[in-house]
Each structure stands twice: as C-alpha cells, then as structure tokens.
Symmetry: C2
Subunit: 189 residues, 2 copies
C-alpha cells in the first residue's frame, strides 16, 4: 500500500539520517517521534526534542524512560531557540529534523504552532544541516489558524532555491476534512 | 536523496505489482517504461503497451527486442480502447498501469494526450484493477494544452471515493518551468 503520512515521514527520515547523527524533534507532542528518532540515530547519535507545553515534556520523558532511551534531551522552549540548547559538536552532525505542525492531539487546541516561529526554526536548521540532511514537516491544518500557517509555509518553501534544496509535497488529494500532508526539504550535494 | 519523479513512479509500481501480473503501459513513448514493466512482471506476467504514434510503436518494439523481452504486446491505438485488445484471462490479473501524460519527447509536440481519453482509460482500468493495484500518472504539463489536462485530471481524482481509493500527489514545489508530478491511484482492500 502507498505509505500513509506518518509512515512516509518516518521513511524519509530513515532514508536520510545516519547512525551517529544529531536530529531535532521540533515538536515533541506525545513523544512518539522522539522515540523513533532516538532509535534511528542509535547510541552514538543524539535527539534534541522541543516543546513549549508541560504535558508534552512530561509525556515525552516518560515514553523515553519506558523505552530505556538515554540519547535524547527534551527541552521546554520554542523550537526557534534550538541553537541555544545544542552544543556545537552535536550541531555539526545535524542530519535531520521533524515538525508536526498544528496542535498537540488530546490537549488544548488553542496552543498551536505559528508560521513565524516555525519558519525561523526551519531557516536556522537548514543553515546547520549536513548535505543530504532532511527537514520533514507534517502539516496538520484542519484547526483554527491552520490555513494561515499552511499558506505561509507553502509560500516560504516554494521560494527555496532548487539548486540548494529539493522540496517535496506528499499528500492525499481525495480525503475529506483537511488531511495532513508532508513537506520535505532536503539539502542537495 | 528523495526520489525524483521517474524513480518514484517506478518505486510505486515495484511496491504494488507482483510477478505474473498483467500491467498496462498506457503511453509507450520511447519504450523505457514498457521495458521496465516487462522485467517487473517477469515471464509469467504480461505488458500491454499502447500508443497512437508510429514512431513510439517502432521505438518500443525495437527496445523490447534489444532486451530480448517477449512478454509485451505493443498496440497502436488509444489507451481508452485497451479493453478491445486484452484477453479476459489477462485482464483479470491487472495489477497496474502507468501513464506519461503530455507529448512524446523528441517528437511532434502537437500530438498530446487529452484529459477526455485519459480519464476514460483510467475509469476502465480502475474497474478492472485488482485490490492493491495501482495507476500511476506522470503528469507533464508545461506544453500548450497541459494546463487544461492537469486541471481536468485533478478535478477527476479529487472526487474518487476515499473509501475505495488512495490518491497520492507527489511533486517538487520549488522547481521552475512546470516540472512533472505524480498522481497515484491505489485500489484499497
């Protein structure tokens, strides 16, 4: 079967990220991607996970502990401040980042990601990303404010220089209720 | 690297099509996909290739001969007439089809595919397709008439029932000059 959105987001990370890489989970949420990335980069790699909400930090730390994973640092701050929290030797091995844009499922729907900070974070990450490194955005846009974030993001990624980056759109076009889609940005050789 | 359009169209066929399947190359063109599909389904499978242009038929037959492939039938007719050319025992094993929409590279740019016959062919193929079978459309739309075909197709696939079909859009959004993109329709279980 054609891969669904979450499976394909993981597939893209698996294809681009190597053992020993540093990766960023820009939106920890319930911690599922943080755990996935921690296992992907292995013991020699490291995950930096960001979220602004207490509940996300608590859930993610609990899930990492349950899986006995120790190569992840969870930070309660905006992803746009990622550089303040990552030592330079880790930053030079940055192989990828993943964003789940929208709100935390099962939580306060009024707390949403915003295109301004999202784009700031993407800009910073792209400037530090290794060649072939990837930024995967899973865009949930069915909530209030979702349209605006989606349109800002689309405008931003369409302008990324095609000589420097591949920007892929991956989404299902016959589903009702604003299904999520993927934007993936890969740094070219 | 994120797969380019042609690689990804082949990847989708490889994931969905099995040895022994019947497959359709709806637009033989220079025969590259016909050869790819012939090798994919193996000696127990069969490819039916369609094209309306002499040059495409000649090129495809020559390429098949050069690869010593004998499990492909090349037919000079519109893909919308596919049913008239395929024996029923082959039709019941229909696992996939591929369309390259636009014009034949290196040939007369005034001979293009048209949405009416394309959609007729897709409708017929979907009705005969096995479960998990796939129709991959590679949409070239930079030529005159390309916008119209693209918009008709998008309108058509958006309305396919999501309970019966997955419809994926796969394309690069930061490239200049109307790059091709993929629409893939997979029949659900």
């Amino acid at each position: 079967m054609i891969k669904g959105i979450i499976n394909y987001s993981h597939f893209l990370m698996e294809e681009a990220v190597k053992k020993g890489d540093t990766v960023i989970d820009a939106t920890c949420g319930n911690g599922h991607d943080t755990v996935f990335l921690s296992q992907l980069v292995g013991e020699s790699g490291h995950v930096f996970g960001f979220d602004i909400q207490d509940q996300a930090i608590t859930n993610t730390q609990a899930l990492l502990a349950r899986h006995k994973l120790t190569n992840a640092t969870v930070i309660q701050d905006s992803h746009s401040n990622f550089m303040h929290h990552m030592p330079v030797d880790k930053l030079t091995r940055l192989g990828g980042a993943i964003f789940n844009l929208g709100y935390l499922p099962g939580s306060d729907k009024s707390v949403i990601t915003h295109s301004e900070t999202t784009i700031l974070a993407i800009e910073g990450i792209l400037s530090h990303l290794k060649q072939n490194g990837i930024v995967v955005l899973v865009v949930y846009h069915g909530h209030e404010g979702g349209d605006e974030e989606r349109e800002h993001l689309m405008r931003y990624v369409r302008l990324l220089d095609q000589k420097l980056y591949h920007v892929l759109y991956y989404g299902f076009v016959n589903q009702k209720n604003d299904p999520p889609f993927i934007l993936a940005i890969q740094k070219r050789n």
